[in-house]
Amino acid sequence: MQISTFYIKDEAFAVPSLVVEEYFRPLPITKVPGADRRIDGIVNIRGRTAVVINMRQCFDVPSRPASEPGEMILLETTQGLVAEARELGLYTFEEPVVLSVDCVSQIHQLAGEEVHPAPPHVNQCFVDGVVQIDEHYYTMISIRKLIDALLNGTAKEIPC
């Protein structure tokens, strides 16, 4: 399996590459009144509307300075998932969702590395576990938990 890594502040995170549809530079965001603080608003990607999830907010990290625009990761829709992804049981939302992150990093091929449970001090809310590649650790984001908490529910803050 391939994973795509990215950074939020100084910490490295990852999602399976198969749930990524496209990376792109930040687009203008339209704010949605009354939305959860972890939702920045919506963007228009080539005619499709996507909800933008602010990953900093999700991990209670202070906002990015205005001088750093960050980057965006567009997730596949449930429909767009390739067969391999379905086989692996990967989960996404029905509608386009964008993760707003600080910086997209790399793509790694996992060769037998295991996803370990996250250490207890990690905020478990949106985490599936931790992967070690060489000397680096990557926190695996749980797309399911993220979507359940922010989009499937009534967009209330659900305590973990």
């Binding site: 391939q2 590459s17 549809e21 990376y23 792109f24 530079r25 980057e71 391999e84 992804a85």
Partner: protein
Amino acid sequence: MLAEQKNEHKFSIFNALITNDHREFYEKIINELIGVSPICNQGKCTAAAISETATEQEQITELMERVETFAAELHDGTKNLFDQFYAAKEDFCRSIYCTTAYIKINLIDRTLLERTCDVRWWAMETAFVECLERINKISRSLEKMLHEMGEFLDASRAAFEVPTLETNWTMRDISQYVDDVRAFGTRKLELMFNLPVYKQFRAKVDSLSEQLGKGKSQEPCLNMLQKVIKNIEEVHQHVAAACNRLEDIGSSYTLYRDLVITLPDGTVIANANPETREAVLGRTVTNEGWFQRARQEGELNDYIIEKTSRSIVDSGNSLVFSTRIHSPGKDDQSIGLMGAFFDLEEEAKIILQDYMPRHKDGDTRDGWYSFFTDINGRIVGSSDPDIIDVDQQAHLPRGHRKLKSGETISSYASVEGNDSAIFSAMSDGYLDFPGLGWSSHLIVPCRDIFASEANCSVNGISPDELMRSRLIPEINKDTYVKVQDDKQSIKLISLNGIVFASKLGKRGVALGPVFEQITETGDFATSKMEELLREMAFGELRLNLQTLETFSKQAIDLIDRNLFERSAAIRWWATDKYLWKAMSDPSDENLQAASRRLLDINSSYAMYRNLVLSNRMGRIIAASNPELIPDIKDARVADQPWFTKAMRSKNVGEYSVQDVGPTDLERGSRSSLIFSGAVRENGSRTGEVTGVLGSLFDWVTESGKILRTCLPKDRNGKRVQGCIAFYASRDFEVIESSDSQVIPIGSSPELPPEHRELAAGESASGVFRLGDHVYIMGSSRSKGYREYLGLGWSAHILRPLF
């Protein structure tokens, strides 16, 4: 030769100015980018082969096209970047080296202004006026006396033709003595000014007088001889007095090769240099340019300046300042001339060899030349006379030969086989000195201007911090942001490609290497560009540091030169007749005369707050501005360094100086820098010290003025905001500051060691953090100037980075 081509100038790798490093650099980037096209074609072919649907193929093809467009943009970006890089360096170097050329000519102008004051001031010295009045008078009557002496001698010879009983002398015998003396009748000038000749004459006269004394009725003739001798000896006394006075000046003002006084007909009657005196006195300068101009134009101007290198007075390269000497109240008629031979050769050497980069062994770096040309384009001083010949016509591009006052220009030319840049600045005079129309030229090899800064780093600042600083022009900052942006864009493109390929499963494997290659190429090109940008930033930083070093050097040089003048003046004034007279006989009349004299001097030299005369007990007995002293009656200076040092001095030509600080002689603890010289009994050279003359230099005003002229300016000549200049004493205490809010006077800022541990004349530069502020700073330590050794001060110029 490459003309100035900034506007039509677009980057070309074939331009001779581009360094080999950059050619290689450029080639690598371009090669990588050229490689993108075949890779993309390969990607499109692979897409056609593996795609199952048209959409898939379209998606891959679109990705490839984006990569290609992007590579083309990078290609243009690289060219633009190099363009900016060279234009920025060119621009900056033009500004810094034109400034350096200007500083050099300005230093000359400042010195020359002082010299014009010197000669006019000296010409008013009563000793010279009295001497000239007497000698002119005696010279005129001596002609007649010598003629009469001849007649008397002839009469005596006739009287002796008839042998008398009293003598055994024959006609032939006395005739020989008469002839010996008579032969001197036509050698008036030699008798007056050539002591050996006079001595021969005197011996002959003595012998003749002895013989005549043996005859009868020879008194008229003997009286005549005595009268001639008396007059000639009076001339000798006046000459000796004038020479003595000139020597006093010469030993105070060592920047003159010689000083002469001539009669209106050009006969030199006195000079300052005892070594050449015998050869110079009595000779005429009537054929010399400076004399002819001074005699003619002297009526219109109060002084003239003429360059000479073949005077009978001095064969060196001099600039003669001359002025006519008048009897008091008779300004229409000159009684003589004064000529001061300023040592241009030495002065030009000091200035021209300064502000040049050196090898460790002290030699100026090859290919760097600095020289002055006069209004006709003739070289008047050169940093390397073996290559740039003095007195020859300078080989300069046309534009550099017709500058306007104060104008600067630069262009490229080949000089001595080096591709070089020439920076020229024309004098615009200084204050009321209009300048001589001279220009200063600085030649810098192109290889040094465009030297690679690839491995440059400066302690105390990171490349990113530097990139954000105020030093970096907006256009470069924008490019930096753009390159980083591009870097990220190309990364996203290839990541998208890889993600896309991974979703094709096994079919996508073939696309993998294509995207890897694109990632690599993109990374390479953009990181190279970042490197170049950083090099550019460090280049900009280095030039800024160099500029600050230049300005700090200028600041310390200007103060050293100014204080040299002060040290020369005090030595000369301390020998003034009115002062030692008041010391030996402190009558009210003499004290008033001394005070008047001090006021006279002070009114011509506005840079002094006060001139004070102290007796040997340390009591102030006369002052030019007594009202400035808080408690003049009780003022005692006996324990002050300026006084004690002067009391201990051994002879004239010595001076003392008391470092900047508060003094009892000023109200409100205003800081003063005090120079002092000993007043000696009867004004003699090594006589007992009878008092001390002190001059209170107006430190606060004058040093502030100089500091302000040394603050950095931008390309439009406007002062850069937030810059600070300050002087620090030997103990690194601030003694003057252009911004006493940030750098207060009396404080001791924590200077980095490399700025503290400077040897005399050395400069350093670097990053300086003061509180929350980050500055770059240039520092230079005083090396003194001629006999003014300096007080170990340093000058520091700060420019804010943020």
